[in-house]
Symmetry: C2
Amino acid sequence: MRVVVPFAAENPKTRLSGVLDADERAAFARAMLADVLDAVRNAGRTPTVLATAPVDVDASVRVDDRSLTTAVNAVLDEDDGSVAVVMADLPLVTSAVLDRLFDADGDVVIAPGRGAGTNALVVRDDEFHTDFHGASYLDHREAAAAVGAEVTVVDSHRLATDVDERADLVEVLVHGDGRAATWLANNGVRIERGNGRVNAVRVDD
Amino acid sequence: MRVVVPFAAENPKTRLSGVLDADERAAFARAMLADVLDAVRNAGRTPTVLATAPVDVDASVRVDDRSLTTAVNAVLDEDDGSVAVVMADLPLVTSAVLDRLFDADGDVVIAPGRGAGTNALVVRDDEFHTDFHGASYLDHREAAAAVGAEVTVVDSHRLATDVDERADLVEVLVHGDGRAATWLANNGVRIERGNGRVNAVRVDD
């Protein structure tokens, strides 16, 4: 099974701009990507980074500057076997979680992201194509139904947690133990533990 | 195994006040409770509602007006066997998800909620006590370690999704098929599907 990890190489994670500046967001995005690549390898697979621009990373890189949807569909079109797509902003994924994804039955296996997105996919049907705009989880279910592909949904908080905004950093700090969690700790991002809601705050020394 | 479902009977879900008025919040909270009770029964267990005030519901009710922590610990103290605690605001839980929770090994099984909370627990250690204030997921891990209890974590988006605020309604509308999802649909709460983020909006006729 081919495993591709789409990665937005330029100006990533703008919704974290209230916490991290542009260079920091780039470094944090790279730490999350490294966590995902580690998890894929620990699950016994060889990842390919599908990047919007050349990126210096310890994995093979395929550059495609078109939209995420177009770039992923190009991979699906040229591969006759099964293809897995795992987003690069999922620093909580582990090999155990990816085993659940890769081993799930179904022509199309979907791990939903919070907010109706799609955070990971396994595609075993040649007619299925992706569409990552908007409510892609619902769109992907409809696209699978349209080509008669059976869908399996993987229920995982770790796979559902794509990191886009400040509240998502809480999940990384609470559940992460990889490079992204370490990067946050080393850069003064902590959780604030009161008696109410838990927030991620920046404690600059 | 005893299964208790804590339920705040009075003025529930205040953080949904931007979408639902007080009566609506009460009705929606009851719909979520009914979904949880259905899932527990479909998993082959008999739930007890642990309510802060008398509540008319199709299940046995134990009223305890003390804090959630105190009320749950009182149940743990009087039971020598294993006790499961499943929060009432988890309308995405299914019997399959609860099977994963109930069947997981470990002296203490924790299903984290988003934001460092605890959404469900199985307690098989007499010395373990709960503390639901603040970052209870971390507190419960520490409390388990302090009494030498082995912890297992259940990784489930459905169990991690407690419904407190508007963004959580998106999850109910996208993934739910029970009474809470139906209640929202019948009361004009829909998801708005553009090309960007998906929101829950109210479409009053």
